[in-house]
């Protein structure tokens, strides 16, 4: 089928692979994003610590799932990757080139593109689908004819017949079709990293499955790498190679998907997974889920940020912040918990 042939990349788009397959596509170190909150004239200026020292890397062709409850900094982390949120500290290295050093934001935005959750709000209601997809290439200097050809090609690729859909407005499409169009719009820049911020969360289950299959096909055909953000653990398990669990702006656990799903090292990961509905009605989830809301990111708890809600919290948890460390000697599986750190002073930790 001609649809599977990769279309030629117009000259100004795309970012060449410089580091080879073994170099991580994305290396994020100590990402920090603090938003100042306006206080009154007599109150101290305070900051929301939306993302606080997040480090991770994504290999080429890999899918990194990011999970965590609302407000944990998943979306801000995603927005940092395309420069939509201001980076307070930390560095982003894309295929060996560091943002701000030998990689400009404009160039990074050719390598990384983002798909948002709200399929309707992410398409301009006054532009046809074709114009929305062609917009990015057009601003990068692709000729109108080439941008149009590219848009038609992508429409075919995402399963929307250009003859029927190219001239339609967003309100004339269903939710699934709109989200396909958004994926097409992101792919129009010929990115290598696609950031999917809850991209399938608002869709019906059947449509969600179709879009997930489309994402799997696109990944294979275009050599894409995904940063897949979701609150749906089942979907993340289906699509992700590795999973990163975030809590209150920090990474609490990261590891290969299957390892993490089988052997949850951090109590927060455990609580998160315990809140997943069981597929078997005779085997209902009995563990009580976490109570309360996450603490305020303006003034996060000292020590381990999870200690205020953790069932195993002891005095050491509120005193000292645990570092990410290998779980059971597996260097790929890291968690930040005093119970896993020998000699940390927690009663469940092994002695040093």
């Amino acid at each position: 089928m001609s649809v599977n042939e990769a279309p030629p990349t117009p000259a100004p788009l795309g970012l060449p692979d410089v580091g080879g397959p073994r170099q991580p596509l994305l290396d994020a170190a100590g990402l920090t994003c603090h938003f100042p909150v306006r206080g009154g004239p007599f109150t101290a200026r305070r900051v929301v610590r939306a993302v606080d020292g997040v480090s991770f890397s994504v290999g080429k062709g890999e899918v990194l799932g990011v999970v965590g409850e609302s407000g944990c900094g998943k979306s801000t982390t995603a927005r940092l990757m395309v420069g939509l949120a201001p980076l307070t500290a930390g560095k982003i290295v894309f295929d060996g080139r560091q943002l701000g050093e030998d990689l400009t934001l404009t160039a990074l935005r050719l390598g990384a593109q983002m798909v948002f959750q709200d399929s309707y709000a992410s398409l301009n209601p006054r532009l046809t689908i074709e114009d929305s997809i062609a917009f990015g290439p057009r601003v990068r200097g692709v000729s109108p004819a080439d941008a149009r050809a590219l848009a038609h090609d992508l429409l075919k690729r995402i399963g929307l017949d250009p003859a029927r859909f190219a001239g339609r407005y967003p309100h004339e499409l269903s939710g699934g079709q709109r989200q396909r169009a958004n994926i097409g719009r992101a792919l129009a820049m010929k990115p290598r990293l696609l950031i999917l911020d809850e991209a399938v969360s608002a869709l019906d289950k059947s449509v969600e499955a179709q879009v997930l299959n489309l994402l799997a096909d696109l990944k294979a055909d275009h050599d894409l790498t995904y940063l897949f953000i979701s609150h749906d653990l089942t979907v993340v398990r289906y699509i992700a190679d590795r999973v990163m669990v975030m809590y209150l702006g920090e990474v609490v656990e990261i590891g290969p998907a299957e390892t993490l799903y089988r052997n949850r090292a951090h109590p927060y990961t455990d609580a998160l997974f315990a809140a997943m509905p069981s597929m078997d009605p005779d085997n209902r989830t009995q563990t009580p889920p976490l109570t309360g809301d996450p603490p305020n990111p303006i003034d996060p708890p000292a020590g381990c940020r999870f200690h205020t809600r953790c069932a195993f919290a002891e005095s050491v948890c509120g005193a000292r912040e645990p570092a990410l460390a290998a779980v059971a000697g597996d260097a790929a599986h890291l968690a930040a918990c005093h119970m896993l750190e020998p000699g940390s002073g927690h009663s469940k930790a092994r002695a040093a």
């Binding site: 927005r79 395309v82 420069g83 939509l84 404009t106 935005r109 050719l110 593109q113 983002m114 948002f116 709200d118 709000a121 992410s122 398409l123 301009n124 209601p125 006054r126 532009l127 046809t128 929305s132 917009f135 990015g136 601003v139 990068r140 399963g159 929307l160 017949d161 003859a163 029927r164 859909f165 001239g167 339609r168 407005y169 309100h171 004339e172 499409l173 269903s174 699934g176 079709q177 396909r180 958004n182 719009r185 992101a186 820049m189 179709q210 299959n213 489309l214 096909d217």
Partner: protein
């Protein structure tokens, strides 16, 4: 790959442009079309008044004073100085429509630009622009217009300038709030993530989505502009007698309201008709500019 089921409306050829679509939708709105026709007739009448074979609008006559509507030769009667009302109303459209529409058009261009810049950039730029416009809100619009006109001196051009200044702040305010709400939408973020410049994003993604509400609001200001212009004329700061201008005519005829109320009400009726038509037309245009129809 799974077949995509088509739930949306059947596709038709959509090669036509945006404005062709606006016209196609406007044609289906009879009220807006009638109002457009009335406004067109008023404007054409005003422009071509000297060639319509009307009586001299400046020629008074003591015996014709306050003749009622329907007097032979003077279809709409005569005013307090015996001047032909029909001629004065049609000639009056020249100044009134100009003073009603021109300041709003000027304020629309300036206010929308200010509001777009403030709403899109936010932060310090927003604070500077919006707090400055807030200063103007401290004065009632009539007083502000009188103060500016008084400072600049009487005259039609100065009335135009003062009315423009009066209308910039409210239009900028509306433009800023709709721009800020569009600015927060994901498609603007997506456009930023594609590397487009702020100017391109505003031109392609913001402008089209904010013009509708600002446009409708600005149209509603034209009737206010006409009344304010009339007020300025009444105070001797705008149009001067014997120039025919609806607001000025309304003011001078008010002494005749017990003698011949119908004639005295005619300039008011013209202002009412014009602003009604403008409002209905702007409403129709707003619906027609909405691609979802």
């Amino acid at each position: 790959m799974a077949a995509v089921t088509d739930f949306a409306v059947p596709s038709e050829a959509r090669a036509r442009g945006y404005w062709a679509g606006v016209w196609r939708r406007l044609r289906r709105d009879p009220a807006a079309l009638v109002c457009a026709g009335v406004l067109l007739a008023l404007a054409l009448g005003a422009i071509f008044a000297p060639w319509l074979g009307l009586a001299d609008p400046y020629q008074g006559s003591m015996i014709r004073r306050l003749k009622p509507i329907g007097t032979p030769g003077h279809l709409l009667g005569a005013d307090e100085l015996g001047r032909d009302m029909l001629a004065r109303l049609i000639y009056g459209g020249r100044l009134t429509l100009f003073l009603g529409i021109a300041p709003v058009v000027c304020a629309f261009v300036i206010g929308t630009t200010l509001g777009l810049v403030a709403g899109y950039l936010g932060g310090v730029v927003n604070a500077v622009i919006m707090r400055t416009t807030d200063v103007f809100f401290a004065f009632p619009s009539v007083l502000l217009a009188i103060a500016i006109s008084g400072a600049l001196g009487a005259g039609i051009v100065n009335s135009l300038v003062s009315l423009t200044i009066v209308f910039i702040p409210p239009i900028a305010r509306v433009a800023e709030s709709v721009t800020a709400s569009v600015r927060a939408l994901d498609y603007v973020d997506a456009a930023r993530a594609s590397g487009a410049s702020g100017f391109t994003i505003v031109r392609v993604h913001v402008l089209g989505n904010v013009l509708g509400p600002i446009f409708v609001y600005a149209t509603s200001l034209t009737s206010v502009a006409m009344i304010l212009a009339a007020g300025l004329s009444f105070l001797g700061l705008g149009v001067r007698p014997p120039e025919p201008e609806w607001g000025l005519m309304l003011n001078t005829l008010r002494t005749a309201i017990y003698v011949n109320p119908w004639v005295a009400a005619l300039p008011g009726a013209m202002i009412f008709l014009t602003s009604l038509c403008l409002n209905i037309l702007s409403d129709g245009l707003r619906s027609a500019m909405n691609v979802r129809q």
